[in-house]
Symmetry: C2
Subunit: 270 residues, 2 copies
């Protein structure tokens, strides 16, 4: 049986460089779908393109407008194909608007100098950390992952916490139900970190990711070798100011290898 | 007299959404112009656009192909204008190819919750750190900045260093000759960090930035207040593997405020 993640990110080719898709309520967020499934769907359009060479090594996603429940179309454009890299531009169109765009770089990777300048943080293992309880009635996407926080937690009520809490958190995360890791689920996991403003103030408020960038450091064999083992995800922020904050993340896999790192900018109202 | 940075990033409007520019040898790098001037030129096209509202808050730049010495054209497209944000797509065309693209987000910013989750590193002041000597015959852009390393250094010879050196470095940096900071020079400074592979191996090799993302955390008044005071720049990397490495950076200004942070992916050959 197809995994719900593959159903939610499925695309139907409509012709050269055009695909049809639709948001899946199984990955619904407060307004529109979970950004991670949008990222994965944009990536799928490139990886399933007949002209695509190599694996995804970098993805920039821009959330331009709220995505509604309607069907959407994705348009791909191969901007540049060089000797080592391909640059792809991707646009998600819904009801006559561009709601999201992506710039995706693919490459066939070789064995080269390999070095970790930083090592995986030492934290309690997943079995020592309790999973977040399932939710009902909102943000169904939260139930599509098993979150086991090993640093910080996820208790967002009102009013805001005083004093402010740390922006840095770590969790073990995997798909629920389990699904072997691939490039698409890695793209989704890269956006599965809660916005740092929630952790710092401990309260919900109008906010959303505007642009995110994900670097894939793992080669395809490492991604496949991860299987259904949980990933260690760490996120932090530096500054909240003038309606925006930054947010950095790392996803670590088996043998302490960094699978992906990235950075995003988050809008918040007040 | 116009500052050399403004000459190097100048654009001439050719019509709606079209601008003409040319690389300036004063900011030349090993192959093509310094990426920071390309980033700044792409940003200038948006900021000088009659429809632009607000200040730049985020910039993704993709270096798709080597930029030659010829004149180029820049095309801008307002992808989405919402209540709070504008999303711009920018393309640099040269000799029938797309050589660079950018996705730029602008916003009119308000006073909101303001918080540093991390504080500026404590390092020796600029006057206690020697500036890098001027170079001649290569990478003229290096002479356009005053680099004062306060952690790590910049000695890149051959053969490669054994053992490997730390990826993390910090420097004080300012335009040379001095130029009051603005959004454009901040965009250029965001790409003025040497590639981490150079620091780690201490040796030159075929490599280049593929995609970078810069978050502007400073509001316009803070950027203006910086004047010609040097910024503290810190950069690090996590993993080098399979032809690519990640690289994170922060630029700190007066009063210990984070002006910008960002992340990039770097290609290297072996």
């Amino acid at each position: 049986m197809e995994h719900i993640f593959d159903t939610a990110t499925a695309l139907k080719p409509l012709g050269p460089n055009r695909y049809a898709g639709r948001p899946d309520p199984a990955y619904g967020n407060l307004a529109g779908p979970f950004g991670g499934t949008t990222s994965a769907t944009l990536l799928r359009a490139v990886l399933e393109h007949p002209d695509c060479v190599g694996q995804a090594v970098n993805q920039n996603v821009n959330f331009c407008g709220a995505i509604g429940p309607e069907p959407f179309e994705i348009a791909t454009r191969l901007i540049r194909a060089g000797r080592y890299l391909q640059h792809w531009n991707v646009e998600l169109h819904q009801v006559d608007d561009i709601r999201a765009t992506a710039h995706i770089v693919t490459a066939a990777r070789k064995e080269t100098f390999s070095h970790h300048a930083q090592t995986m943080p030492e934290v309690a293992g997943p079995e020592a950390c309790n999973p977040l309880p399932e939710v009902s009635g909102f943000s169904a996407w939260l139930n599509r992952y098993e979150f086991r926080f090993c640093e910080g937690d996820a208790k967002f009520g009102t009013p805001r916490d005083t004093p402010l809490q740390p922006a840095k958190t770590s969790f073990w995360i995997k798909d629920r139900p389990a699904r072997p890791l691939d490039a698409l689920s890695l793209a989704a996991l890269s956006d599965a970190f809660f916005l740092r403003l929630l952790h710092v103030r401990g309260a919900l408020a109008p906010m959303g990711t505007v642009s995110l960038m994900t670097h894939v450091l793992a080669t395809g064999d490492e991604i496949a070798a991860q299987g259904t083992t949980p990933l260690l995800g760490t996120a932090d922020a530096i500054r909240f100011h003038g309606n925006f904050h930054d947010q950095q993340m790392q996803l670590w896999g088996k043998d302490g290898n960094l699978l992906a790192s990235g950075s995003q900018i988050v809008w918040f109202k007040e």
